[in-house]
Point group: C2
Chain length 584, copies 2
């Protein structure tokens, strides 16, 4: 230790010498002052440094937590946050989304991103806060499925743009009832407040309603996996009701993902908290805040799935009175109430707050984007973690390996040739037969592109025994095959592992549901692969027999002394018998 510190001290001295040498400059150009090594602090000295940290400062310094780790990912995150907001707004307004996404390269490392939607627009007074204040929004407290949930994303994109280019976002928004408003804002990160630098009403705007978000940022545009392109494509898969026009650097014209269906997903219901999902502290807070006069009413009015019978049972188990005043319940009584809730059987929360993609659309989405031989989809019934309803959907697309493969059509006809597969790209999601399968992860219809290894979904895929379903798999690795596994979680509250919303926290209930769905789809895949193998071996056998059958005919002709005609007939009969006996 002593030796080490000595070396450090020498280094400090070297620093100081350097500083002293520099301090020969004129006073107005006084060189840096290396802060003196303050030896020890007292409690009073330490107290002076204590202060509040604004949430914007916090996230500005920790911007990798929000998905702004590096220029490439920052571009993706910016687009993602704006698109999520646009799709949510359209859904809330019952509008078929029509999105325009543009990425323009301004300088080598600077880009301008524009996202415009035809949603219901934002009322003027809310625009600065929504885009210029972190932790501001409508979705955090609502118990309903939506893409956004934190009130951080879009303002963080603005903050990042401002940090890297000095300029905040520009917003144009028009509601049905008002004229379009044009805002330019700067984010005051020390106070987490928007500063309006431009606020004007536009006489004309080309849309009846909608919102346009524009920001300049330091970024890097690159195609391929986990790119903005990839994100847009996957968004089109999970949102077939949206029309998306996408223009990126190097494209001659915008690529348009057309709508595959014309129904807006039903706006999910908002539900009350489920008793099982509320902790003691929260319960005490609710007791203090309720308008209910009696404990029994409180339980029924503030929670879902609590009727008079359940309320009575809870209160009896807790040893309390139905007519207690909620606001006067002490901590110990609240604790009894909490314990009683855990002991009482209460039905699962309603699932009308969920809006899954649906088996048909998952299959369609996969068929559109993967040129596969087989598709399997599985949907689990809704389940609950920490009181939050959620539902898991899984889809698998699979292609038989090999350049020369056997394909069996609906009528059992077998063909042998098939086009070669390439390595996977954003055009065809299927990879090579000897590569790991590609995993597509979605949460509330939003593609999750990063942090695959840290995601609960991945854990479930790794924990599934894919060998049972005909795919090879090393221990602790993804299965291998020319296949895509799609996993979607619909929930009122998705437990992401970070604010960047890239991976799902491994709650046991979620892991279990994902695994069950994977097994269900896996069994279907396994049946298909085994059947395929059987067909292939039958084909092989038949091939052999077809080759030898004429020789058998000749042999029999010689032995039995029959005519050529009889021989042909015999061979034909044998062939037919074989056809019939082969069962596919």
């Amino acid at each position: 230790m002593a030796g080490f510190l000595l070396a450090q001290d020498l280094e400090i001295d070297a620093d100081r010498r350097q500083t002293q040498q520099r301090q020969t400059g004129p006073p107005e150009t006084r060189p840096e002052q290396v802060a003196a090594r303050t030896k020890h602090l007292t409690a009073e000295q330490m107290a002076k440094a204590q202060k509040e940290i604004s949430v914007s400062e916090f996230f500005a310094k920790n911007r990798h937590l929000l998905g702004f780790d590096n220029p490439r990912k920052s571009l993706l995150t910016t687009i993602k946050e704006a698109v999520d907001n646009s799709l949510d707004a359209c859904e809330e307004g019952g509008i078929l989304p029509d999105l325009t996404i543009e990425i323009h390269q301004i300088e080598e490392d600077r880009f301008r991103v524009v996202i415009e939607d035809n949603g219901p627009g934002i009322v003027r007074a809310q625009i600065p806060n929504i885009f210029g204040k972190l932790l501001y929004g409508s979705k955090f407290h609502s118990r309903r499925q939506s893409r956004g949930q934190q009130g951080i994303g879009i303002s963080a994109a603005g903050l990042y743009g401002q940090m890297t280019t000095g300029k905040g976002p520009t917003i144009i928004s028009k509601t049905k009832r008002s004229k379009a408003h044009h805002f330019q804002i700067q984010l005051d990160s020390s106070k987490n407040k928007p500063v309006i630098t431009k606020d004007e009403e536009l006489a004309e705007w080309h849309q009846k309603q909608g919102t346009r978000f524009e920001i300049g940022l330091e970024a890097h545009y690159k195609r391929g996996l986990r790119s903005a392109d990839d994100y847009i494509k996957q968004t089109a898969v999970s949102n077939p009701h949206a029309r998306i026009s996408y223009l990126a650097p190097g494209m001659q014209e915008a690529r348009v993902y057309e709508r595959a269906v014309k129904d807006v997903p039903e706006r999910a219901d908002e539900i009350k908290p489920h008793p099982y999902g509320v902790e003691l502290g929260e319960l005490m807070k609710m007791l203090r805040a309720t308008n209910s006069r009696w404990l029994s009413g409180f339980l029924q009015e503030e929670f879902c799935r609590v009727g008079p019978k359940v309320a009575k049972e809870i209160i009896k188990t807790a040893g309390l009175s139905e007519r207690s005043y909620p606001s006067r319940i002490a901590r110990e009584e609240a604790d009894s109430l909490y314990r009683a809730i855990q002991k009482t059987k209460i039905s699962a929360p309603p699932t009308t707050c969920l809006s899954p993609i649906g088996e048909e659309l998952i299959r369609e989405g996969l068929m559109k984007e993967c040129d596969a031989d087989f598709y399997a989809v599985a949907t689990r019934p809704p389940s609950v973690y920490r009181g939050n309803p959620f539902q898991i959907e899984v889809g698998i697309a699979w292609s038989r390996p090999g350049e020369e493969r056997l394909d069996v059509d609906a009528k059992g006809h077998i063909s042998k040739t098939r086009k070669k597969r390439g390595t996977y790209d954003t055009e065809n999601l299927l990879g090579n037969a000897d590569d790991p399968v590609r995993l597509l992860r979605f949460a509330n219809r939003v593609p999750l592109l990063s942090q695959q290894s840290g995601c609960g979904f991945t854990k479930s895929v790794l924990a599934t025994a894919w060998k049972n379903y005909g795919l090879s798999q090393s221990r602790g690795a993804l299965p291998v095959g020319s296949a895509v596994i799609l996993i979607h979680m619909a929930s009122v509250w998705v437990p992401f592992t970070s604010e960047a919303k890239e991976a799902i926290a491994p709650y046991p209930e979620i892991l279990k549901e994902v695994k069950l769905a994977l097994q269900e789809a896996g069994r279907k895949l396994g049946m298909h692969i085994r059947k395929g193998k059987k067909v292939a071996s039958e084909f092989q056998k038949r091939n052999y027999i077809e080759q030898y059958l004429p020789h058998v005919g000749i042999g029999l002709q010689e032995i039995l002394g029959i005519s050529d005609e009889d021989r042909f007939e015999l061979v034909e009969t044998l062939q037919e018998a074989m056809e019939t006996s082969r069962k596919i």
Copy 2:
């Protein structure tokens, strides 16, 4: 889609029917109201739901982000946050830490945790905010190495305790100059403010100065990897200057980790930001806030490593004047200044802000906790990521495999027997020879126990070719062996992947430094293993020869007709010659 929605609708109807059935109860016990499926919202309706989200509410709902995923981890995180604060306070006060940590089981799932230190204490006015307000502290804005950096940890522990037991933390703190103060606080999570429920001065306290933090919480205590026990043990390894007394459920008496060294680690210096680490937005903010009258002075006073010469060069490259008023610099000029900074060669930031553990102490720590055959340590020179200085230290402890192993002491003597190894535990950190090596990760002396697979350190370990250094390794996996790899990052700002501070974000500069350090230590290990293999094969040969030597003697005796005495002498001479020729 249509089919799916139909099924959903049926489910909703079922829900509604259920509700209607329930609504036959008396009015004061009116059953739950399933919120009607509000069809579509207008911008005006949506605006009403928009509101600010308090940072406490945000983290309460996202408590897994802070390390409170499950009862077991919550116990660990609570202890970790309190211990980090205690060790930081002692270091700042120049005090040799003397920590008492107690875990008491109150009910099956409720525990009471007490952490007491002999640090400088906290002045009365600061206690409620430090323990009852998220994003409050002294370390966030300081550019100096410390364990805490966010101002979230300890208040989050209090918040979690309150959420799960209804009761906030109790704090006693005494500074040298004041009497001990006893506080009980509740956290108002809607406002992110502490509510003081008890505030009294104690006439007597058993310490001259120090702080005692106590909280009840829902938790689960279990020994083994990633347990509180494991954390305390690893903390003792990386903080050999601390004395830690640790009492956990099931222990007869407290386990005491005694101090191994008597020097308090030097309090790291605070440094000014390095020009390379400041983005355009931040630069503009600094220009507005500075007291410097001229641009040249601004650059030298607000940044480290900028003297008159460098300032002049930057300003010239930017095409600005040294006498410009910083506060009047427009965005475009600031952009030129920013670009000019990137183009100018500026020396790396001073490293006096870092306080690495040191090679000697890493070796000592490993020797204390691993019963290994070989230890290698490597320290990299300080480096910089995003303007933040950091330094990587690596240690490896390794044991030769096999139950019967060869051990060579300093004099080259070889012994054959050695005690069997068990699976790894918290007592001896070394594992079995055919298991993956154990990775110990530290950031600013704090052990990182969770999220190993998502950690940048792990990525670097996986990316190192361990086969070159004598360890077997599958592609993409940890090397295999009875070994421990310790990695420590000392930095003014550790880029954690989440607020729970469990894993390091994979900044390329950090990955590179870790890999270089691993390679350096790995080379030492490889040399040792190769030497060991040579010794082993020599030993094997010698074994054979020793077995046959007497027979050779007998043969020679027969051929040459010499006496028994001569034969013994001959065999001895042969043996000696062999000893000498063997080179270790």
